[in-house]
Symmetry: C2
Subunit: 314 residues, 2 copies
């Protein structure tokens, strides 16, 4: 399937429902909103399926497009969804009838009748930009959610997935006259007070091992309760440890409940994070992996440090 084929399929559809993934981020929401607006600009009826886990950060981009209760689609499309298990529960009805899946995850499972998957795209928003350009004019109402999609998945052009093409598309979207300053401020330059205080606690109590190359940060259950932290306050907290200068193995331990700890490992070339987490019953990528273990924070910490030693020594 080529981009022009994707555009052709969409052009032939009407009454389109667009599905997003659980714990929706800017990429899945931004892609769905931009596509929905583009289809409407072509005179079609199009909606997003309500996503019950939407956070206030991305709600403004999705809200104008939620499907009304009881609305029946003729066609179902998904954006940025890698596997059907990542669809929210209320999508169960549509799971078996997805005609077109547009995605950029290497783990995409080709669950739809037709799929366009480009794993070289930093964000699914890059693919949607190309598709929509073939369908209709990119108006500000389309450019803004596409910018949200692309900036979210690249951490605002700072992650290593950012390519020349990412910047080229960002330039085109900005040329539409959208207010990216507001998006950047709310998405990348704002932290809740609770989050700042949790980060402060984690940084103040960080521990260093192995000639200061390994850093451990911890989120005890008590800290979370004490600060009345929400899921949004805790999201992506494991990226903090990865900032510590001179380290190449960042371990974040989050106590999920008494006796259960979620492990997140981010590493440089010296340490294979997947191998570390495989020894602890988890998995992931070479530079970022995770696992969940039973034990106290201290017991789990010892187990992870031991696993790192074994993997590095092996």
């Amino acid at each position: 399937m080529r981009i022009s084929d994707v555009a052709a399929r969409l052009r032939a559809m009407d009454r389109v429902l667009i599905l997003t993934h659980v714990r929706p981020d800017g990429d899945t929401i931004g892609c769905a909103a931009a596509l929905c607006q583009a289809l409407r600009d072509l005179g079609k009826e199009a909606y997003l399926l309500y996503n019950p886990e939407i956070t206030s950060t991305y709600l403004p981009y999705a809200q104008p497009y939620w499907a009304p209760e009881g609305w029946q689609p003729e066609h179902v499309v998904s954006t940025d969804v890698a596997v059907p298990d990542l669809l929210p529960a209320n999508a169960a009805l549509y799971r078996g009838r997805i005609e077109l899946a547009i995605d950029h995850h290497p783990s995409h499972s080709y669950f739809a009748a037709e799929s366009y998957v480009d794993a070289s795209a930093a964000a699914c928003g890059e693919i949607l930009s190309a598709v929509i350009r073939e369908l209709t004019d990119i108006t500000p109402a389309i450019a803004l959610p596409l910018y949200v999609a692309i900036s979210t998945d690249t951490g605002c052009f700072v992650y290593s997935n950012t390519t020349a093409n990412t910047h080229r598309i960002a330039a085109e979207l900005m040329a539409c006259g959208i207010d990216t300053a507001f998006v950047n401020k709310t998405l990348f330059r704002t932290k809740s007070k609770v989050r700042l205080r949790m980060e402060a606690h984690m940084a103040a109590h960080m521990e260093l091992y192995d000639n200061d190359r390994v850093v451990v940060m911890q989120i005890p259950l008590s800290l979370r309760e004490e600060m009345h932290a929400t899921e949004a306050d805790i999201e992506e907290l494991s990226s903090l440890a990865a900032l510590v200068e001179g380290t190449d193995c960042a371990i974040t331990l989050r106590e999920l409940r008494v006796g259960t700890v979620k492990i997140s490992v981010r590493t440089g070339p010296r340490v294979n994070a997947t191998e570390v987490c495989a020894r602890l019953g988890g998995g992931g990528h070479r530079a970022a992996a995770g696992a969940t273990m039973n034990g106290t924070l201290d017991e789990v910490k010892q187990a992870v440090l031991q696993a790192v030693q074994e993997v590095v020594g092996a």
Copy 2:
């Protein structure tokens, strides 16, 4: 002067010395290094004047180009220097004979024989990209320092000065095949342990005023001494307070020495930071201003809060 005129002047020069500004950042160093390499690619002799305040972050980009002791230039050029007072002390010899100044600061004082100033450029690196494109091919050795220049001054494309043109240039530079992932990691995704601990202390002790719209963070002298913090650890620490969700007036107080406090104020549209700081003997821009006052941290804090009240109430 147009870009083509700047290129013509440079093409006519040989034995060129390039000057950078005090407390050199990625923009002044990146521009100077890129221009120096471009002039060398044209077969010319060109060097950067050693900048005694260079930090380890930017040293790798400047080091290959430092002028040897005693080398005599025929022509002197400056990049990203707004006023002669921002030249380092060892540039005194060349201060009166700068032939060409290339800059993007609105406060540029036109101190050189000829000047090219574009205040709409997010970084001086945007101007140099255009100039160098007219002079020679943009090789990776030129593209890398230009990327450093542009990413530094835009906070990696997140600040509100970022334009479509900024992204367009970034796309062209990345297409040269440079390792921007390494630059982004070292410049934007690394913090020293001391810095993280100082930020932790500041966040843990932040104070909120005026219905939580005003946030105050403090850096007592004792904290700095206790943590053996360097100037680099403290640089830009005032940006932390500006992240606090729900606030639109971020005040950072840094005790320079006993009885002297440096004030930094970052604001949203409701509060004019220049007006606040003008009442305290300082100045700056509408959204970011500063002042230095005598008094204890607590006395200065009261004075700043009072000034904010006056400006908002006025």
